[in-house]
């Protein structure tokens, strides 16, 4: 069994009880993905599976044979950050930084969902294009908790990038 992480193929032969989150963190040492609750309640472990966001603590690694995973390390690096990563720095879209990788992974996929026209509870219409309004972003990001209370700044960071990339 094999899994692709940030473009690199890895073997999937460990303990079948290992979650995708613990596989990333402990087996592959990709510790950018954080464990905040291990129960799918906080969003700190959000990664992209075949482009879609998922709480990596709620799924076992062995369930992802053949899947392609993108983690925070795959979105950008210290020397070459993504537009969203740069916007988080500029807008102070964090404080302690622990929820930040999850917020950024989640926001990356969320923008794709808006682009694809998926409606949310905040959408006025079920059909047709969706605008990246503040209320849409707030609703769609509500699975990513930030206890420091940086929400207003996270919204500003995502909003700026969404305006550029989705308009």
């Amino acid at each position: 069994m094999a899994i692709t992480i940030n473009g690199q193929e890895h073997d999937l032969s460990g303990d079948p009880r290992t979650t995708l989150l613990d596989y990333l963190r402990d087996d592959l040492r990709l510790t950018g993905t954080k464990k905040g609750c291990d129960h799918g309640q906080c969003g700190a472990c959000t990664v992209l599976v075949n482009g879609m966001r998922i709480n990596s603590c709620l799924t076992l690694a062995v369930m992802h044979d053949g899947d392609s995973i993108t983690t925070i390390e795959g979105l950008g690096s210290l020397g070459s950050p993504s537009t969203l990563q740069k916007a988080f720095v500029e807008h102070d879209g964090y404080q302690c930084g622990f929820c930040t990788p999850g917020q950024i992974c989640s926001a990356t996929a969320m923008m794709a969902e808006i682009r694809a026209g998926w409606p949310s509870d905040a959408s006025e219409e079920l059909e047709g294009p969706i605008g990246a309004t503040s209320e849409e972003i707030r609703e769609r990001m509500s699975g990513n908790l930030c206890r420091c209370g940086a929400y207003a700044n996270i919204l500003a960071a995502i909003g700026e990038v969404a305006e550029e990339e989705l308009s």
């Binding site: 510790t31 905040g36 291990d38 102070d92 964090y94 404080q95 622990f98 930040t100 990513n144 207003a152």
Partner: protein, 730 residues
């Protein structure tokens, strides 16, 4: 060399404003930001340690009693299991902030449901977790009927003598307007996003411990005492902390357990608490019951002020939620009665959660002030303005600085506060009633002893070193800015190293004192470096102009240093000044809410906070601290509530699905106004704390807005839909 300042009087030199670099106060992005957004910032559990074992804590399933037997054999045959640790040194509770001694030991003696009693260690996390669940434990449990669990049914003990001045009862009967109201608030959890974690390594003589902690300067003492190891044989490292909010002030159970296991097994051990364990084994904010008595004359001037509160904690804990802290000085009134009582019950430990005291005391007070304003027919902003004291009402001390009036006025104007007559249910949109409310903010200013080393290097860069932590507050930013400003260096030329007990002892992060305390230590060190540089130039330090790596004109710092590093350790101590002034941060909250007339749901439409907290050291990170506080205000107002089982006192909602912290959609447009000031008595850098002020009263503004929207006066926090519905007038 060491430069020492014991502050006995206000520092009116205001040196930072005389510097030329122009970085102090500027909204600069955090130097630690790129590491955080790229996932490369190493938090405790992220450290790669060779040959590391995994430990999982086992917690008690009784309320009070003793562990009679732990059947280690029941799990030692399971795959990967290495040991069951139930050593006498394991701790039963987390240390209170600044305890400087071991927390309650041994863990075998149980005082609350969910208390750690043992550690199962295995080769992998999965193996340890499984074995921890299978471990057979026998208890000698006390009879539940003998154990006090409910603060309401327990006789409380007075915390201290309280404050008594004049005759409050008489003031109440002779007042033109008075209120006598009782409020209840429920417990809160810090719920920092990073669970408590530790990795301990023991080389036979020395311990190296990565741990998620706020105050290494105290934690190393607590850990040494808990383990009976010398402080000099322990190194604590905490460079990145995923939030604290009080929960990481003292050493906690997983750190001691990891150390004991590493010492017994001779291999590194990592212990990370589960989210449920963090809720159950760390600190809760106590629930409170508060009686507010406010008596005013015909002009709305307070003549009587009573605030009594009952909180709870485990037997033997010194901490009592200091509910009355701001009530001591916020409003003038000659006749005063303030009294705090503690009920001793067997729920998990009560301790510091962001803004201990004011977070729950201020909303109750400010809600009562709103009722008084209505009774007296005075605009709520005006009522506060009329009651600002010119000195501490009972101690008689002058205020070091006081910006409440400015915050109230500037906040009201920016918010568009309508000071006309107020009556509930004046605005409706569909099924939503809309209203506004306001509240004062106040929080004592704390400052602590702190040390920091600053090295001006021959290459023209500077290094700032202290064991101080950055728990998201912006320590990395502001220390770089203070050093940069003083030494005339752009912040890119200043490296800040934190969170390692090998470095000089800082103040720790807690009580909003971090920036002012350790910032002052850096300032003291830099000031001495400036004197030494001035000596090299041959001028007085006051005449030395440092900017962009030059010492005036064409004199480059690198030339002046001529290959030499200059190093100074700054040592700041608060002195007698603490006895001469009342120092506090002040502010005002304004909120607009909508309340659903059918479901009772409250949504905050917009919120504004105006705060005066001395010098702003970094406009961006300071604003973030204010935003965080306001976010917590919304949680305390509407959703956050620890719920305990009445039968055995265990915490029922011990995860993030059941304990409701605010999420993105709960937080509306928030405006922050920073009412800049210089407070020369607060610290030599004229700064005060800001981490907690933003939640000291905010929930009261929301309560008052709910009343204005729909006419429901609530006396219980959080103001959940069921409570709003039952308080709605017909």
């Amino acid at each position: 060399m060491t430069a020492h300042l014991k502050q006995d009087k206000p520092d009116t030199r205001n040196l930072l404003d005389k510097m030329r670099q122009g970085v102090i106060g500027k909204p600069l992005s955090r130097p630690d930001g790129p590491a955080k957004v790229s996932g490369t910032a190493p938090y405790t559990a992220d450290h790669a340690v060779e040959n590391c074992l995994e430990g999982v804590l086992v917690t008690a399933t009784i309320v009070r009693g003793e562990v009679a037997d732990i059947d280690a054999q029941s799990v030692l045959t399971m795959p990967g299991v290495v040991a069951v640790i139930d050593d006498e040194r394991l701790t039963a509770r987390a240390a209170q902030g600044g305890a400087d001694e071991a927390p309650e030991q041994p863990a075998r003696k149980v005082g609350y449901f969910g208390q750690p009693i043992a550690l199962v260690v295995a080769e992998s996390f999965e193996e340890a977790r499984d074995a921890a669940k299978q471990l057979k434990v026998d208890y000698r449990a006390d009879d539940l009927s003998d154990i006090p669990l409910d603060p309401v049914q327990t006789d409380p003990e007075p915390q201290d003598d309280g404050t008594r001045q004049g005759d409050l009862a008489h003031a109440m009967t002779s007042a033109a307007h008075s209120v006598d109201l009782t409020y209840r608030t429920e417990g809160h959890a810090s719920a920092a996003m990073e669970p408590h974690a530790a990795i301990a390594e023991w080389d036979g003589k020395r311990l190296t411990v990565h741990a998620s902690l706020q105050m290494l300067n105290h934690n190393i003492i607590e850990l040494a005492d808990a383990l009976d190891v010398k402080e000099e044989d322990i190194r604590l490292i905490s460079r990145y902390v995923g939030g604290g909010f009080g929960s990481k002030l003292g050493i906690s159970e997983e750190t001691v357990a990891a150390c004991v296991a590493a010492m017994e097994l001779g291999r590194p051990v990592r212990v990370v608490m589960s989210r449920q364990q963090v809720f159950q084994c760390i600190m809760r904010r106590s629930e409170t019951k508060q009686r507010l008595r406010l008596a005013a004359d015909g002009d709305g001037k307070l003549i009587g002020f009573g605030h009594e509160a009952r909180v709870s904690n485990l037997p033997g804990e010194d901490f009592a939620e200091p509910v009355l802290q701001s009530s001591e000085f916020l409003y003038a009134a000659e006749n005063r009665l303030l009294q705090l009582e503690v009920a001793r019950i067997h729920r998990m430990t009560a301790g510091s959660v962001r803004a201990p005291g004011e977070a729950v005391g201020m909303p109750a007070l400010e809600a009562a002030m709103d009722v008084l304003a209505e009774k007296a027919g005075i605009d709520p902003v005006e009522l506060r303005l009329r009651n600002i004291p010119d000195k501490h009402p009972s101690e008689g001390l002058p205020f070091s600085s006081h910006k409440l009036a400015e915050c109230l006025k500037q906040g009201a104007e920016a918010f568009g506060w309508d000071s006309g007559p107020r009556k509930p249910r004046q605005r409706r949109e569909g099924e939503w009633w809309i209203g506004t409310g306001m509240a004062s903010a106040a929080r004592v200013h704390n400052i602590e002893e702190a040390k920091a080393r600053v090295t001006l290097k021959a290459d023209g860069t500077a290094l700032v070193e202290t064991d101080m932590t950055d728990i998201g507050t912006g320590t990395y930013s502001i220390l770089g800015q203070i050093a940069g400003e003083m030494l005339g260096l752009p912040v890119e030329k200043v490296l800040v190293e934190l969170g390692d007990t090998r470095l000089p002892r800082g103040s720790g992060s807690g009580g909003s004192w971090g920036a002012a305390s350790v910032g002052s230590a850096v300032f003291v060190a830099c000031n001495r470096l400036r004197e030494r540089l001035a000596g090299k130039v041959g001028i007085a330090a006051d005449d030395l102009v440092l900017k962009d790596g030059t010492a005036g004109n064409d004199l480059r710092l690198t030339d002046l240093l001529d290959g030499e590093d200059l190093c100074e350790e700054g040592h700041y101590e608060p002195g007698e000044i603490e006895d001469d002034y009342t120092a506090a941060g002040f502010g005002a909250f304004f909120a607009q809410v909508r309340v659903n007339r059918f479901t009772g749901e409250t949504r905050v439409d917009r919120m504004l906070g105006a705060f005066g907290f001395g010098r702003v050291l970094n406009e961006k990170t300071a604003r973030s601290q204010c935003l965080g506080g306001i976010t917590w205000s919304i949680g305390a107002a509407l959703t956050e509530s620890l719920l305990f089982d009445p039968v055995d006192g265990h915490l029922v909602n011990c995860d993030l699905a059941e304990y409701h912290v605010p999420v993105h959609r709960d937080i509306p447009d928030v405006e922050v106004i920073m009412v800049e000031e210089r407070d020369p008595a607060a610290s030599p850098i004229q700064a005060k704390g800001i981490g907690e002020l933003g939640m000291c009263g905010g929930a009261g503004a929301i309560a008052n807005a709910i009343y204005d929207a729909c006419g429901a006066r609530l006396f219980e926090f959080p103001m959940t839909p069921d409570r709003v519905l039952s308080a709605l007038p017909e």
